[in-house]
């Protein structure tokens, strides 16, 4: 990028210099040569120069740039507002914020010019809209600002606008799970439990016993039978979901790489379960930074999960979990490993979790990658890598870990329903 910043302070513009120099030369020649017509030619130049000279600003203006929001969602536009406050009159303000990667700028090109009413002590502002199109931690708003005095005689700038941090949270992928959670636990939540309790789902109608609440009396049945009957309900519980996002290997073309898919899918699954009142934990495997969010619930927790996902930075395929893949998984939780299964660390962690009795489902986030030419060495190596991966997937499936591709959540929902049915059958075996 060309360095445009100049020392702060007002400088004469080319327009002013051209007006003064051109008018002076033509007028002098007119006098010396005795040519009044040259004086006529000098008037348009001098006519703009004199008012511009008379309105020279003294003090340099102050500039403040601010982002409308420091945290935005993918595709959401945010306004970058540049305010120039000057004791001297400012007639025109120009702001240039060139587009950067993954950030769209409106207007196109990021150049905005704003006319101001000449007057001292007034603030002039110009706005550029920035719309990040990919999640992640970004720096935006770097550009330049320049101001012109009345009659464009004096210019201030271009001065550099400092970039500002912006967290772009992922847009949650659509996931509408309809099945019950495999292992609902706890005392509160939205999922009907297997034991009776004070929930809202009807379980039975039975005779009144001491201790039953009067509001539970079922009057219609009581009148028909002649004895007091009460309704019983099943308690409602929540489920815990642990999301393990594999950021160790990132394959595919942005903005649809394996990490992109994993992050958006994790956001979608987290949003779905948190909306249902479940507890969601997040752990990012192989990221450049250690990122983990303990299990909790609520809207604020969703924001915490999304903000953490926005900080995911793809690491190296050979990552090693400092804890050796051992970390706390809440009782009864389902672990969803969102991974392309290319990094050994993700496979080791998945296997360890499954062996320790945790219900694990692997969500395959490997995107479609073009096969390449038959004799191309990198393409051949990639095919060999995929064969190895197929072997790993087969091994996981044989050990009872379902591996489902991420296709908007449908296969995942089916697998979760199957696990829930199996869990229910296992618990209802008569003693």
């Amino acid at each position: 990028m060309t360095e445009l910043t100049v020392p702060s302070g007002w400088r004469p513009t080319e327009l002013l210099f051209r007006g003064v120099a051109g008018a002076a030369v033509l007028a002098l020649v007119a006098v010396v040569a005795g040519r009044p017509d040259l004086l006529v030619l000098a008037v348009p130049l001098g006519g703009f120069a004199v008012p511009a000279l008379l309105r020279r600003p003294a003090a340099p203006p102050e500039v403040v740039s601010s982002l409308g929001a420091a945290v935005v969602a993918e595709g959401q536009a945010v306004r970058l507002r540049v305010v120039v406050t000057a004791d001297a009159p400012v007639e025109h303000l120009t702001v240039s914020v060139p587009p950067v990667r993954w950030v769209r700028v409106r207007p196109s090109g990021g150049v905005v010019g704003v006319a101001a009413t000449p007057g001292a002590g007034r603030a002039v502002s110009a706005s550029v809209h920035l719309a990040p199109v990919r999640w992640g931690a970004r720096r935006v708003g770097e550009g330049h600002v320049a101001a012109l005095s009345p009659w464009a005689g004096w210019v201030w700038g271009p001065q550099r606008l400092q970039s500002q941090p912006m967290a772009v949270v992922p847009r949650p992928a659509r996931f509408e799970g309809t099945g019950p959670p495999p292992h609902p636990v706890g005392l509160v939540g939205l999922h009907p439990a297997r034991r009776p309790g004070s929930g809202s789902e009807l379980e039975d109608i039975r005779e009144f016993q001491p201790g039953d609440r009067v509001r539970r009396v079922h009057w219609r049945v009581s009148r028909r039978t002649g004895r007091l009957h009460v309704t019983t309900t099943r308690s409602e519980e929540d489920a815990a979901v642990v999301l393990l996002v594999d950021a160790g290997s990132d394959v595919g073309d942005p903005p649809a790489t394996s990490v992109d898919t994993a992050v958006r899918a994790a956001a979608g699954v987290a949003e779905h379960h948190l909306r249902r009142g479940d507890r969601v934990a997040l752990r990012v495997l192989g990221s450049a930074h250690q990122l983990a969010v303990p299990a909790s619930t609520g809207r604020r927790h969703l924001h915490r999960v999304l903000h953490t996902l926005a900080r995911v930075a793809p690491g190296s395929p050979g990552w090693q979990d400092p804890g050796g893949g051992r970390f706390h998984v809440p009782a009864g939780a389902v672990a969803l490993v969102l991974s392309p299964l290319l990094a050994p660390g993700a496979v080791v962690t998945t296997t360890r979790l499954a062996r320790s009795g945790v219900t694990v489902v692997v969500v395959d986030t490997l995107p479609e990658v073009a096969p390449g030419a038959p004799h191309d060495v990198p393409a051949l190596a990639w095919r060999m890598r995929l064969l190895e991966r197929d072997h790993v997937v087969g091994r996981l499936r044989r050990s009872g870990v379902p591996v489902v591709p991420w296709r908007g959540g449908h296969p995942l929902d089916e697998v979760l329903r199957t696990i829930a049915r199996r869990a229910a059958r296992a618990r209802t075996v008569p003693r």
């Binding site: 060309t2 004469p12 513009t13 080319e14 327009l15 002013l16 210099f17 051209r18 007006g19 003064v20 120099a21 051109g22 008018a23 002076a24 030369v25 033509l26 007028a27 002098l28 020649v29 007119a30 006098v31 040569a33 005795g34 040519r35 009044p36 017509d37 040259l38 004086l39 006529v40 030619l41 000098a42 008037v43 348009p44 130049l45 001098g46 006519g47 703009f48 120069a49 004199v50 000279l53 008379l54 020279r56 007639e91 025109h92 120009t94 240039s96 207007p107 196109s108 090109g109 990021g110 150049v111 905005v112 010019g113 704003v114 006319a115 320049a146 012109l148 009659w151 464009a152």
Partner: protein, 181 residues
Amino acid sequence: MSPAATSALGRLVGGSAQQRLLAAAVPVAVTAFLAAATAAGAGLAVLPVAVTVLLAVLAAAAPGSAAPLVLLLWLGGYWLLGVAGPVSPWTVLAAAAVLVVHVASGLAAHGPAGLVLDRATLVRWLRRGVAVGVATLLVWVVCAALARGGPPGGRLLSGTALAVVALVAATAARRTGSVPR
């Protein structure tokens, strides 16, 4: 290719439609100037015309540089050497061309190539252009009237011209404290 040349080419090719229009106004105005000079009695020699066109293109491509000033001084010299005699009515057209070159270059230099000037700015500069154009016309009327008056009028004209130059110079010195630039 030098950065300046790249920037100038980028302005012509990659600029907004408005900026391209402003750039196109410069050669159009220069063509009008040449037509006015020819009508006022100047000959159409190939080399001076070629130099004029070249300077016009340079001024259009680099409005924020010294190219427009060089072009305007060249046009002044072209008029001085090509047109002889008293104040011609074609001088008004030539002055209008100078005004258009000056304003179009100034507006084009308001910002980078992608800048689209808002309506308020354009209207403001249109008003200023009209005001300065009217002042130019008045000066032409005075000059034409004085030119018919003979030598005493010529001395008055010289005095007026010197007064204008002195006014501009004094204003510049008072407001800037030094030569602007």
